[in-house]
Chain length 377, copies 2
C-alpha cells in the first residue's frame, strides 16, 4: 500500500470538507437557494482576489485569460507579451490566434523581465493597448513583479491595459489587483484555491470594462454577458453547481486563515523547500521565486526525470521540467491544503531519492534545514 | 423536513455512486494512471454517442456547440439556422456573433420544422455551408427529426454540414450521428448523462474534421488542438479530473443498462407524464415529443407559475415556461437516474397541486394513467 501525495503546482490536494461539498446533491441553478450560494461564493472570492467583483466561468484557467483579453482589448490592437516560459508562450499564441499585433519580449527561462527592456519596448511604440504577462510563471518558478510592471505601463503607455495570468499565484503570492492597478487578472481553481480543476476566474478593472469598443467576437467566454447574469447571482449558461458548493467550502478555509497569512505561509514553505534542496546539492532555478512552486535544478550529473521517477515510486507526484528543461528541472510544490509537515515529507523524500541516485547526503541534512526555516510557523 | 427532488430537464439528480466518484481525491492529470481513466471515459462516451470519437471539454454544453461550429464552418459562411425555441435562438445569436451569414428558419414554439420550408430554403441558396438545429429543444419539449433533416440536407445541399445541439437529447432520445450522417453533435453532462454540470462533449464527422480551411479563430475551445491531445488520452488544458472520474461512473450505469433501453425508458416515462397530465386537464405542448422533457400547457384558467410554485412547496423542482410561455407552460422531466416511481411521484404531486389550484380531480386519476402506461416496464 502506497499512500498517494500530490505535491505539484496544480492540481493540488483538495481538503476533505471541499470534496464533501463537491459531492452534495445537485440543485437546480435557477433557484433562490442556489443564487444565495452563488452570491456567497462570489463575495468570498472577491475578498481572496482583493477586488470588488470576480467573474466565475465553468472552464479551466486558460479560458479566463482568453475571456479577459477578448472582453477588453480591441481587435487587431498592438499588445506587448512578456514570454518567460510555457505560459507566457501560451499567451503569445493566444494573442496571435485572435489577430492581435504581438510585440513579444522573450526572456530566458528562469529569469524575470528586465524592466528597462519593457520600458524601452513601451517607449518605442505609442499605440500599445495591452501588456500580457504571467504573475507566477509555473514552468520556471519565477514570480514576475506585476506591481512594477503596472507602474512602468502607467508611466510609458498609460492607455495600455495590464493583463495578468495569476492562475498559479492566486492564494499563493501577494496579489492586489486594485491597489496595483492591474486591469485583467485570470485564475483557476486547481492551485492555491485547492479545488479540483474546472472553474476559471477573471477580474476586470473598471477601465477594462469600459473598453467595450471593437472587440473580437466571443460567445461562451463572453464575460460581459456573464457579468450581467452574475450581478443577479446567476450565470449566462448552466452554473457548475457542485463546483460552486466546493468553491464556497474552499474559500471559507482560506478566509478563515486570512489571505495575507496564506501568502506568507506559501512563501515560507517554498523557501523551506528551496533552501533544503540547495543543502542537498540542487540549485534554485528562478531568479525571483514564486511561492507557488519550487523550481529546482538537479545536482550535476543527475537527471531530473530520475528524481521525478524516484518521487513517483514513493507515491508522490511532483512536476518535472517542460520542453528543454526536462532533463535538469524538477518542480515540487506544497500549495493549498499542504502544510509544513508536507514540506518536511517532501524534503525527506528528496533526500532519499537523491541518495538512491548516488548523491552522498548525511541523514536528515535537508530536513534539518527545512525545520529550521519553518521554525515557529 | 422536506425531501428534495429535482425533476427538471437538467440539471438532474446524480446517482450516489457518481457523486462518490466525484469526491475522490484529485490526481495529477499528466500521469499514466489518469490517462487510463481518461481513455476509459472517452471510449465509453463514444459508445453512448454511437460514434467512434468524442471530444471532452471542461465547460458547459453551449461551449461544445460553439467549439463545433468554429472547428468546421468557415468564417463568413452562409448557414441555415432552425430556430424553434430558446436554444435555436441561442445558436442564431452564436452564428451572428461570429459573423456567419445566417438564414433563419423561425418556427412557432411547440412546433417542429416544416421539411418543405427547409427544403425550399436550401434550394433557394446554392452556397449553404451548414445547417444548425436543436435535436431536443428543451424550451418547448419538441424533438426535431434530425435524421430527416440530414437526409434533406444531403439531397438539397450536399456540401452543408449538419450541426446538432443534442445537449438534452443525449442518452434520452434515439441519436445515431454516424448512421444518420450528422456532422457536429454537441452535448453536456447535466442531462441524460446524469452528472453535475461542467463537462461539454462534441462529436465531429470525418468530413467536418476535414473542413479545416478559413476557420474563425479559437483557442480554449479549439477542438482540433484538443483532438491531438485527446488522441493521446490527455487534454490541451488541465483535465477536469474529478468530473472525469464521475463521467466514468455515470457511463458505467448507462452502458450497463444499454443505450437503446435508456432511450426507450425515457420515451415511456415522458409519455406517462404527458398522458397522465392530459387526464388531469393539461395539454401536451410539443408537436413531436422529446423524451427529455414533458412540456405541458396548464389547464385553462390556471397559471403555470402557480403549478411550478406548488411543486416547489413540495420540495420538487420542475422547470417553468420561458419568455412568453411563462404563464401557460410548465416542464417536468424524469431524466438520468429518475425511475418509474419518480414518474408516479411527479404525477401524484401534479394531482395535488392542480387540486389545490381548484381543478376537480378524482383521487389517483393521473397516477392510474401513469401506472397503466408504465405497466410491465
Amino acid at each position: 500500500m502506497t499512500k498517494k501525495r500530490l505535491f505539484a503546482p496544480g492540481p493540488v490536494e483538495v481538503p476533505p470538507t471541499v470534496l464533501k461539498a463537491l459531492a452534495k446533491p445537485v440543485m437546480h441553478h435557477r433557484t433562490a437557494e442556489f443564487k444565495e450560494i452563488f452570491a456567497a461564493a462570489k463575495s468570498k472570492l472577491a475578498q481572496v482576489f482583493c477586488v470588488d467583483e470576480v467573474i466565475i466561468l465553468s472552464a479551466s484557467g486558460s479560458a479566463a485569460f482568453e475571456a479577459g483579453i477578448l472582453a477588453s482589448v480591441p481587435a487587431k490592437a498592438k499588445v506587448v507579451a512578456i514570454n518567460a516560459g510555457k505560459f507566457g508562450e501560451r499567451w503569445v499564441g493566444l494573442a496571435n490566434e485572435f489577430g492581435y499585433e504581438v510585440i513579444e519580449i522573450k526572456i530566458p527561462w528562469g529569469k524575470t523581465v528586465d524592466f528597462e527592456v519593457l520600458r524601452q519596448s513601451l517607449k518605442s511604440h505609442n499605440d500599445i493597448k495591452a501588456i500580457l504577462t504571467t504573475h507566477s510563471e509555473t514552468s520556471t518558478g519565477v514570480l514576475h513583479d506585476v506591481k512594477t510592471i503596472a507602474e512602468i505601463a502607467k508611466q510609458e503607455s498609460p492607455e495600455a491595459l495590464v493583463l495578468v495570468d495569476a492562475v498559479s499565484s492566486l492564494a499563493a503570492a501577494e496579489l492586489r489587483p486594485k491597489e496595483w492597478g492591474l486591469d485583467v487578472v485570470a485564475a483557476g481553481s486547481q492551485k492555491g484555491l485547492m479545488l479540483p480543476p474546472g472553474l476559471a476566474f477573471v477580474y476586470l478593472s473598471e477601465r477594462a470594462w469600459a473598453n467595450n469598443k471593437d472587440l473580437n467576437p466571443s460567445f461562451y467566454l463572453d464575460i460581459r454577458k456573464e457579468r450581467m447574469a452574475q450581478q443577479k447571482n446567476s450565470t449566462a449558461y448552466t452554473s457548475p453547481v457542485n463546483m460552486i458548493y466546493a468553491l464556497n467550502a474552499a474559500l471559507d478555509i482560506l478566509l478563515n486563515e486570512g489571505i495575507e497569512n496564506v501568502w506568507q505561509k506559501r512563501a515560507l514553505y517554498t523557501q523551506a523547500i528551496i533552501k533544503s534542496a540547495e543543502a542537498l546539492g540542487c540549485k534554485a532555478y528562478a531568479e525571483r521565486v514564486s511561492p507557488a512552486v519550487a523550481a529546482l535544478r538537479a545536482p550535476e550529473g543527475i537527471l531530473a526525470t530520475d528524481i521525478v521517477a524516484g518521487f513517483a515510486k514513493r507515491g508522490i507526484r511532483i512536476a518535472g521540467g517542460q520542453d528543454h528543461a526536462k532533463e535538469f528541472l524538477f518542480r515540487p510544490a506544497v500549495l493549498g491544503y499542504g502544510d509544513k509537515y508536507d514540506v518536511i515529507t517532501l524534503v525527506a523524500a528528496l533526500e532519499e531519492v537523491l541518495r538512491e541516485l548516488g548523491v552522498d547526503i548525511p541523514n536528515a541534512k535537508g530536513v534539518a534545514v527545512a525545520m529550521e526555516v519553518l521554525q515557529g510557523s
